[in-house]
Symmetry: C2
Subunit: 220 residues, 2 copies
């Protein structure tokens, strides 16, 4: 059963909207390996959290911070990848990770919409090409990537969107509207879980978005 | 030359992040035809702006507002389309629009990321299937849709992203990194305009994102 966990092998904080959701903050505070993109560092330090590594060109960081944390500052000049990808590749290269490691990405949405769109699309790329299990937790919900038949933990009336294009088979059990092979990204939005789990089956990779539990259902 | 205009045949306000950008607010205040999705109405009214039509199921509106504005409230029960598409189809059906009308979409991003992603993808759908020219203005930039060879007004160092998948030809002049036919959405992000215009050529439809002018370049 796929569910939103509290623990991941690696947590990466990007410079989008800073996490305010309870689960996201818990993940940030208890991370085994925490990498921060440099645009997010100052706010992270104000929360009293020190990352293991800072990735970026240092443009968005004060000189004081840069001097104090120079030993963990990792500058990658290469232009092809964005900071999220640089951080992910750093983790895969320098941390002793085993098997198919789990990654949680925080602060990756909000602000510029092209970054949001790019970061969401990168999840599929990381899953397929870097062999990691990515979860992106935002202040409104979370994205996971899967393929084949997967059952997802949910709650009644949880809002669910499924993004996939070009697969020949896409089907579901336990969602209010049955999935079908989509030809456009918007077709999989605005679905809803009926009970405490739903199952998706597909011949291809897909992205699932589930909203956080509203407070009336209890603690997040 | 494609540029961000102040005037559109139809302006539609959705229930994402409310416009704070100067251009977006100007477009909202001076709209010829303004349709508001019901989740955005209360904030619109607080600004002293009355829409021509309100589209939605009325769930997110107070009884007082619903009673006062019942003559312009247009309820569409159908589940297939989201409120943005319902509003767009309403405009095409009831306003006397000529040729290929221009639509400006506001308040369509921020908050739930599945809505953001769905709304951005819908721009391509509206362009191809509803024969309109859509522009989506957010608080950080704007999206436009085009095909073939198009020149876009820009400014030096404007951040530009181009989204397209599956075209055989995608090329550019005047961007810092030359475009090439992308296989994934993230590949077209993080580009930059060199001068006051750039040109894109493609055999297929594409989405262009350009950031708003920072204040140091003068008024937006």
């Amino acid at each position: 059963m796929r569910e939103l966990k509290n623990e991941y092998d690696v947590v990466i904080l990007a410079a989008g909207d800073f996490p305010t959701n309870e689960t996201a903050i818990h993940i940030l505070r208890t991370a085994k390996h925490l990498i921060a993109c440099d645009g997010a560092v100052e706010e992270l330090l104000r929360m009293g959290i020190e990352p293991e590594v800072i990735v970026g060109d240092g443009d968005s960081v004060s000189t004081a911070t840069k001097v104090k944390y120079q030993s963990i500052f990792h500058t990658i000049v290469e232009q092809e990848d964005n900071d999220l990808t640089k951080a992910t590749k750093y983790a895969l290269q320098y941390f002793a990770l085993k098997g198919q490691p789990t990654f949680c990405f925080l602060g990756t949405t909000g602000k510029r919409e092209d970054h949001t769109l790019g970061n969401i699309a990168l999840l599929l790329h990381y899953y397929k090409c870097l062999n990691i299990v990515p979860t992106m937790v935002t202040n409104y919900g979370w994205f996971t990537v899967s393929q084949g038949k997967t059952t997802f933990a949910s709650f009644p009336h949880q809002q669910v969107s499924v993004f996939q294009i070009g697969g020949k088979c896409l089907e579901s059990e336990g969602l209010k509207w049955e999935l079908y092979p989509f030809s456009e990204l918007w077709q999989g939005t605005l679905n809803e879980a009926i009970e405490y789990s739903f199952t998706i089956n597909s011949d291809s990779t897909y992205l699932v978005y589930q909203t956080h539990k509203p407070k009336e259902y209890g603690l997040e």
